[in-house]
Symmetry: C2
Amino acid sequence: MNNITLKEIAEKLGISITTVSKALKNYPDVSEKTRKAVIDLAQELHYTPNSFAVNLRTKESKTIGLIIPEVMHHFFSNIINSIIEEAEKNGYLVIILQSNESIELEIKQVELLINKRVDGILISLSNESNYNEHLQNIINRKIPLVMFDKIAKLANCSKVIINDQKAAMNAVQHLIDQGCKKIAHIRGPENPQNAIDRFIGYKKALEKNNITFDPNLVYTCKNVTFEEGIEFAKQIINEHPDVDGIFVITDLVAVGLLSHFNEIGIKVPQQIAVIGFSNWFISQVFTPKISTVDQPSHEMGTVAIKLLLEEINSNKDKIPFSPKTIELDTNLIVRESSKRV
Amino acid sequence: MNNITLKEIAEKLGISITTVSKALKNYPDVSEKTRKAVIDLAQELHYTPNSFAVNLRTKESKTIGLIIPEVMHHFFSNIINSIIEEAEKNGYLVIILQSNESIELEIKQVELLINKRVDGILISLSNESNYNEHLQNIINRKIPLVMFDKIAKLANCSKVIINDQKAAMNAVQHLIDQGCKKIAHIRGPENPQNAIDRFIGYKKALEKNNITFDPNLVYTCKNVTFEEGIEFAKQIINEHPDVDGIFVITDLVAVGLLSHFNEIGIKVPQQIAVIGFSNWFISQVFTPKISTVDQPSHEMGTVAIKLLLEEINSNKDKIPFSPKTIELDTNLIVRESSKRV
DNA sequence: TTGTAGGCGTTATCAG
DNA sequence: CTGATAACGCCTACAA
């Protein structure tokens, strides 16, 4: 049952390895008879090419690397889904690594993937990452690279993103439309681009509606967790009891927030209207159902890997490839937590 | 910046490839001076061994394959986490594939992994799988295999499981202790072992308490989804309005169930007490908070990969390895949905 | 139409 | 202590 090689097939058939190889790869210069004999025997013996040898010969691994900050987040596990699927369709397998939002880990993992000689890398950056050396390194080595969701603006590679500013603006505008006058923002960490953009969107919406921006109403997550949501809920009630609307960086944190509000009997949305981001599954079943911004996670994964494969194939054919940035649409989803009818 | 080989280092230093190789691998029979020269130059040139060549030579890929039914499920994304992490610690990378609960896909994916020549395979079976040919195939080829959570009892390989029967019995006993007299069970599909075992546990608990088992009170999920939960809620209310307790195959379905109960105003746990399984995050924030059985997902992943690595290493050292089955403890978590104090 | 030879980059054996 | 040589399995000019 063990690993059949071209050599063994050749010996059994009394022909050369070359001919066997050619027959199996449908080269034109093999007689019909030989070809059939080879193919039949190969099938009978369950021949499969030794991928190690093929890799070495072709310098391709038919493997791509995927680095994400956190498998457990709804948005990312959704994306993994589509990436794996699309990769498989195209004959690629996916090695997944998790940076845990740590740049140190991310650096190591990039190195692992480079050493593994994956054919391309998909990455969503950790909160600590900018366009650092490890990422430049990938590009310098001409390894196809696509960033998605959490990107480094400066990087000269393909990117798949949403318009975080616009999406945030719409979300906050919605709160204002519901009559909110004093809107707080629970933002993501200082560094990542999407946290920055959502924060800018928040400010722009206020500005547009002539509401003066108050930095004291901005709370900054460190870890973007459920627990932080609870913590900020307490703080807000304490420091700004008259806040009547909150825009939250992501649904998970909003869930923490609302859990606390539920517990102490604050009425949502009547007293405080809340909107999250990313449309986690939990938001549609939580009480109250949580308003949010839907990100096309599945599509984002698919587009990202398609871009990557495009670049891989261009390189193979020696066609020049220019990085593209693709922006996907988001969708405001209004549910109970912000709807004041 | 491109790929440095042993040959290049050897040429620059005017020594043989062999010596370079030995120096880098700390063979004892290289002079200190040569070793240093080699290591210094290698570092300067950022030499990393070509993994394709290493794979071919050593017949190892330092890669393991992981097949799971569904990335999106809380339990599995949790497990992915620990597997990736533990693998990385030991110098292995993980290729992840998703069977979508389809045996057809699973078969293909096993084939892909075998052809890729991964060093070992971790699998949690699809709902449609038993100990079928594709799994036997793995074992026949002497590729180390560990099954976890959803296993095939007959397979002669290592397994990591929980005691589903016992856990289910405890859950149902708890409902009985809360005064439930007529307990329904929403079970998983017919085939998978854990659905069967939980069902058996349910029956045993009834038996032990002299409650006659009524097959009409058993509802069988096809896809184990939130939507099915809603559907069964309707059916149960319709067909057995006097049911006062429900044991559900998994929290996700329980969430569907409870959403419907909330909507139509059925009081949980007073009218109907509900307990789920797997301790999804959502269960601790849902209203009412959902009682459940905690599975040690993180530990399960860690134990599974450790077993796999143990087998891989035994094989390398030609030490015989006997498959082990490890059973992990579960934990009954009582929350609002079943607590009738 | 078939086969020979060389090479991908590394490692292991064995001789010097 | 060092190096020549072969082998891992496959692919592809080139020759016959």
